[in-house]
Subunit: 110 residues, 2 copies
């Protein structure tokens, strides 16, 4: 992406941006949607489920794992993936800083 000035921002800001970036792709959302539905599955299941090549799915799984949004456990010669609830909850907690359910007011000047 060009020069991202991560050094100029706080650790919390960079960490939140990294999680959001991992969520910022429809294929990865589709992977998470499927994981939420079936609780856990292997890479091959997702290759069947989604219109993407095996290499592409594997790459997306790697990015979700780097962001710690999912966990992967070796299961024979396959890898079983599932959602990492702790990181999702942490992410949602940070989002509450920006806006919480009670706060519906339009605070713009006009």
């Amino acid at each position: 992406m060009g020069i991202t000035k991560a050094a100029y921002f706080t650790d919390a800001q960079n960490e939140l941006a990294d999680i959001a970036k991992a969520l910022g792709n429809p294929a990865r959302i589709a992977i998470l949607d499927h994981l939420a539905k079936v609780n856990s599955c292997i890479c091959g299941d997702l290759v069947t489920e989604l219109p993407l090549a095996q290499a592409t799915i594997s790459q997306h799984l790697k990015e979700l794992k780097n962001a710690k949004l999912i966990k992967g456990n070796i299961d024979g010669n396959a890898v079983c993936y599932c959602i990492n609830h702790e990181v999702f909850n942490k992410f949602k907690a940070y989002l509450n800083i920006f806006s919480n359910a009670n706060d519906n007011a339009n605070t713009c000047c006009p």
Copy 2:
């Protein structure tokens, strides 16, 4: 980014990915952090606050506005920006599909 196969995914998946993508940059998180703190401010305030050029801040504001995460109101010769709480709440509601606070179990196979 190369070929993003948005057409292969649902509207909801693409919409969520677009919002997350807008959140996926530390400068934009810093902008939202500042907006959450001061409620509303103009572009020039952010230029003072953040270590980025005016053109860069303006571009980030545009992307946050495209994702509807913020609103902008013309105020004299300036533009007053504030957080759009409805979109944040919608985003958080979608995240609950993946994980909710009660759901802390590790559901991986091993």
